[in-house]
C-alpha cells in the first residue's frame, strides 16, 4: 500500500523493465537531488570566498583547481577549505544517520541525539575540560570515545535475546538523560571560564579545522556512506514493520545491526569533528522527505540537505554579526527551523504522515 501511495504521489514514475536493469525512477527525487548538489557546491564556494581576505568567485574556482595567485591558493586550500569540507561532511553524516534512525524506528522524533550518542560525547568532552581529565587526548578523541562508548553501553543494556529497536530507543533515552544531567552538573560546578569553553564545544563548532580532521572524517564516510546506501532495500521493508519485513525476506536482525552500526559510526565521527551540531540529524531527513515528496526520508537527499543546512548555518554564523564568529550549532536552529516549519505548513497531508 505504502509503495503504491508513494508512487502515486511522485506523479509519473518511470518503470525501467529492461533486464538486467529494472527499477523505479522518481523524476522529482532526482531533480531535488540535482538541485541540492548545485546548492551545496554554491554554498561551499561562497563559504570559501568570504572572510577577512575576500576572494572573488572566479578566483575561488581557480584556487580550488590549484592555479592562480599562490597567496590565494594558500588561503583557500589551507585555511578555508578544511572548514568548509568539515561542514559538508558533517552535514552529510548527520543527515544520513538521521534518515537511517528515523526510517528504522518509523518515528520522526527518533534522531540519533535521542539515544544518547551526542550526549555521551558531550559529557566526555565537558568532563575533559572542566575536570582537566584531558589526558593529552584532545577534544576530538574524547568526543569520539564518548559517543562510541555510549553507543556500546546502550546496546549492551538493551540486549536481551536480541535488541529490538524500541527497547534500544528507550534505554538510549535513559542513558542520554543521565549523560545530560552529568554535563549540566559539571557545567554548574565548573568555573565560569571553563563552563564557557565547554558550552562553546557543546553547541557545535567549525572554527579552526585542519586537513587532518577532514581526512579522518572523509575516510570513515567513504566506508560508511556506501554501506548506508546499500541497505536502502532493507530500509524500505523495515519501515513496514518487522513482521512484514521478515515476510518479504529481509534478515531483520542483521539488517538492524548493520543499520545501527552505520548510523552510530556516522554520528560519532561527525560529532567528534564538529561537536554535537543540534537539529541537523532530526530536521534534514524531514525536510528532504517533504522536498522530494516521498513517503520515507530519502537517504541521498537527506545527506545533501544536511550539508546544505550546516554550510548555510556556517555562512550565517560568520556573516550575521561582523567581527564575531558564532559557533555553527547555534545557527542551525535559526536556519533549519523556519524551513521545516514552512514545509510543515505547506504540505497538506492528513493522518500521521503529516
Amino acid at each position: 500500500m505504502t509503495a503504491l501511495a508513494a508512487d502515486r504521489r511522485t506523479r509519473r514514475p518511470f518503470r525501467l523493465a529492461v533486464p538486467p536493469v529494472s527499477g523505479v525512477l522518481r523524476p522529482r527525487l532526482i531533480l531535488v537531488c540535482a538541485a541540492l548538489v548545485l546548492a551545496v557546491c554554491l554554498l561551499l564556494c561562497w563559504g570559501v570566498a568570504i572572510g577577512d581576505y575576500p576572494v572573488s568567485f572566479p578566483d575561488v574556482v581557480k584556487a580550488l583547481a590549484g592555479s592562480g595567485d599562490p597567496g590565494t591558493v594558500l588561503v583557500v586550500q589551507e585555511l578555508r577549505l578544511p572548514r568548509a569540507l568539515t561542514g559538508l561532511l558533517v552535514g552529510v553524516a548527520f543527515g544520513i544517520s538521521g534518515a537511517l534512525f528515523q526510517t528504522m524506528t518509523r518515528n520522526p522524533l527518533a534522531s540519533p541525539d535521542m539515544i544518547g550518542l551526542t550526549e555521551g560525547a558531550g559529557t566526555a568532552v565537558v568532563a575533559g575540560i572542566v575536570l582537566g581529565w584531558d589526558g593529552g587526548l584532545g577534544i576530538q578523541t574524547l568526543g569520539l570515545l564518548g559517543a562510541l562508548g555510549t553507543a556500546l553501553l546502550v546496546y549492551l543494556l538493551a540486549w536481551k535475546n536480541g535488541a529490538t529497536g524500541y527497547r534500544i530507543i528507550l534505554v538510549g533515552i535513559g542513558v542520554s538523560w543521565m549523560c545530560t544531567s552529568a554535563t549540566d552538573y559539571l557545567l554548574a560546578r565548573g568555573r565560569q571560564f571553563e563552563a564557557q569553553a565547554a558550552l562553546g564545544w557543546l553547541v557545535g563548532n567549525l572554527n579552526g579545522r585542519t586537513w587532518s580532521q577532514v581526512d579522518t572524517l572523509a575516510l570513515t564516510m567513504v566506508v560508511l556512506v556506501p554501506m548506508a546506501l546499500a541497505t536502502g532495500r532493507w530500509l524500505r521493508t523495515l519501515q513496514l514493520g518487522d513482521d512484514v519485513a521478515a515476510g518479504l525476506g529481509t534478515p531483520v536482525r542483521t539488517a538492524r545491526l548493520v543499520l545501527m552500526l552505520v548510523g552510530v559510526g556516522l554520528i560519532a565521527f561527525g560529532t567528534a569533528a564538529a561537536g554535537p551540531v543540534a537539529f541537523v540529524a532530526l530536521a534534514a531527513p524531514q525536510i528532504a522527505q517533504r522536498l522530494a515528496g516521498t513517503a520515507w526520508p530519502p537517504l541521498v537527499a537527506s545527506g545533501l540537505t544536511g550539508a546544505l543546512v550546516v554550510l548555510g548555518s556556517d555562512l550565517v554564523a560568520r556573516e550575521v554579526i561582523p567581527g564575531t564568529e558564532l559557533p555553527v550549532g547555534i545557527v542551525t536552529g535559526v536556519v533549519g527551523a523556519p524551513v521545516l516549519l514552512w514545509l510543515l505548513i505547506r504540505t497538506n497531508r492528513a493522518g500521521s504522515g503529516g
Binding site: 518515528n107 533515552i173 543540534a278 536552529g333 505548513i345 500521521s352
Partner: protein
C-alpha cells in the same frame, strides 16, 4: 476478570501513596540539619520542640517539599498528556516549546532588561513558556489538514531548537547571563519562597483539572483520529484542551524549578509498565494519575539525595533526577516485553 486481578490496581495505588507520604516526611526531616521524624511531626502539627525546628520546618522544608510535590506532579501529568496527545512515546512536555520558551524568557530578562532576582524572572519564564507553546500550536494546526500529531511534534521541535539557538547565542555572548542561566537550567528546589508555590498553584490546579478530565477522550484518541472522531470526539477541541493543560502545567513548573524534562518523558513509561503489572493496560484514566504520583516521588527522592550526599553542599535535584530515575527506568525497560505504544 477474577477478583485477585481487580485488587491489584488498588494495591498499587496504596503502595504509591505510602511511598509518597514517606518521601514527604523524609524531605521534611532530612537536610543540613537533620530533625528526628517524631520532632518533625510534632512541629508540623503545631507542637514544636523548639523555635529552631519550627523555623527550619516551616520556612525552608515545607515550602520546598510542597514545591517538589506540585512541580513533580505537574511535569509527570503533562508528560503523560503530551505522549497521549501526539501518540508518540518519545514526546515530552519540552517538545511543545515550553522549556525553550521559558529559558528564552529568562535569558532575555537577564540580558536585555537586567532583571536580577529569581522572583523577578519566574514571570518572564512563564510568559516565555506560554508564548512559545501558543506559537507551536498555531503553527502545528495551520495548513488544510489541521493539527496532526506528527505536525504538532515537528513544529514543537522546530520552535524549540529555534529558541534554544537564540538562547545560546545570548548566553555565549553575555557571560553574566550564562552565569545565572546555568544555575536555573540545572533545576533546583532550594531557595524558593513559599510565595512562589502559592502563586503557581492556581495555574497548576486548572491544568491538572483539564488534564484529568480529558482522560477518556485521550483513550479514544489512542485508536486514531478517524475512530476518535466517529466515537463523537471533537478532535480540535480535545487537542486545544490538551495543549492548554500542558502549557499551564509545564509552563508554571519549569519557570520555577528549571527544565527538568526527564520526568515528563520517562515517568509515563514507568507508569505504563507498572500498570501492565497491575493488569490495567494503557488506560489513560489510570496512567495520568499514576504519572502524577510517580513524578513527585522521583523528584523528591532526587532532592533528598541531593541534600544528603555532599552535606552541607547541595546538588540540584534536576541534575540528580536522571541519575536516580535512569537506572530504575532501564531496569524496568529490560524486564518487560514491551508493547509498542
Amino acid at each position: 476478570m477474577n477478583r485477585r486481578r481487580s485488587l491489584r490496581p488498588v494495591l498499587l495505588c496504596v503502595l504509591l501513596a505510602l511511598l509518597l507520604t514517606a518521601l514527604c516526611l523524609l524531605s521534611i526531616a532530612l537536610g543540613a540539619v537533620s530533625i528526628p521524624p517524631g520532632q518533625a511531626l510534632r512541629a508540623l502539627f503545631g507542637h514544636p520542640d523548639s523555635q529552631l525546628t519550627q523555623n527550619i520546618i516551616w520556612s525552608a522544608r515545607v515550602p520546598r517539599t510542597a514545591l517538589g510535590l506540585a512541580a513533580g506532579a505537574a511535569l509527570g501529568l503533562s508528560g503523560a498528556l503530551m505522549q497521549a496527545l501526539t501518540r508518540n512515546p518519545l514526546a515530552d512536555p519540552g517538545i511543545l516549546g515550553v522549556s525553550a520558551g521559558a529559558a528564552f524568557g529568562i535569558v532575555l530578562a537577564i540580558a536585555v532588561l537586567g532583571v536580577g532576582s529569581l522572583y523577578g524572572y519566574v514571570w518572564f519564564a512563564f510568559a516565555g513558556a506560554l508564548a512559545a507553546s501558543v506559537v507551536v500550536f498555531v503553527l502545528g494546526r495551520s495548513g488544510r489538514s489541521g493539527a496532526t500529531p506528527v505536525k504538532l511534534a515537528l513544529a514543537g521541535v522546530a520552535v524549540t531548537s529555534l529558541l534554544f539557538s537564540l538562547t545560546n547565542a545570548i548566553v555565549l555572548t553575555d557571560p553574566d547571563a550564562l552565569n545565572r542561566y546555568r544555575f536555573w537550567s540545572v533545576g533546583s528546589l532550594a531557595d524558593q519562597d513559599s510565595d512562589v508555590v502559592l502563586r503557581i498553584l492556581p495555574f497548576l490546579g486548572v491544568g491538572a483539572l483539564l488534564a484529568l478530565a480529558m482522560a477518556p477522550a485521550l483513550n479514544s484518541l489512542a485508536l486514531g483520529d478517524d475512530v476518535a472522531a466517529s466515537l463523537g470526539r471533537r478532535l480540535h477541541l480535545v487537542r486545544l484542551q490538551g495543549v492548554t493543560a500542558v502549557m499551564l502545567l509545564t509552563g508554571a513548573a519549569v519557570a520555577v524549578i528549571g527544565p527538568v524534562v526527564f520526568l515528563g518523558l520517562v515517568v509515563p513509561h514507568i507508569a505504563r509498565i507498572l500498570s501492565q503489572y497491575a493488569g490495567i493496560g494503557p488506560d489513560n484514566r489510570w496512567l495520568l494519575p499514576l504519572s502524577a504520583v510517580l513524578a513527585p516521588c522521583l523528584l523528591l527522592a532526587a532532592d533528598i539525595v541531593g541534600r544528603m550526599v555532599d552535606r552541607p553542599v547541595e546538588i540540584q535535584a534536576g541534575a540528580l533526577v536522571a541519575f536516580i530515575g535512569g537506572p530504575f527506568f532501564i531496569a524496568l525497560v529490560r524486564r518487560r516485553k514491551l508493547a509498542e505504544v
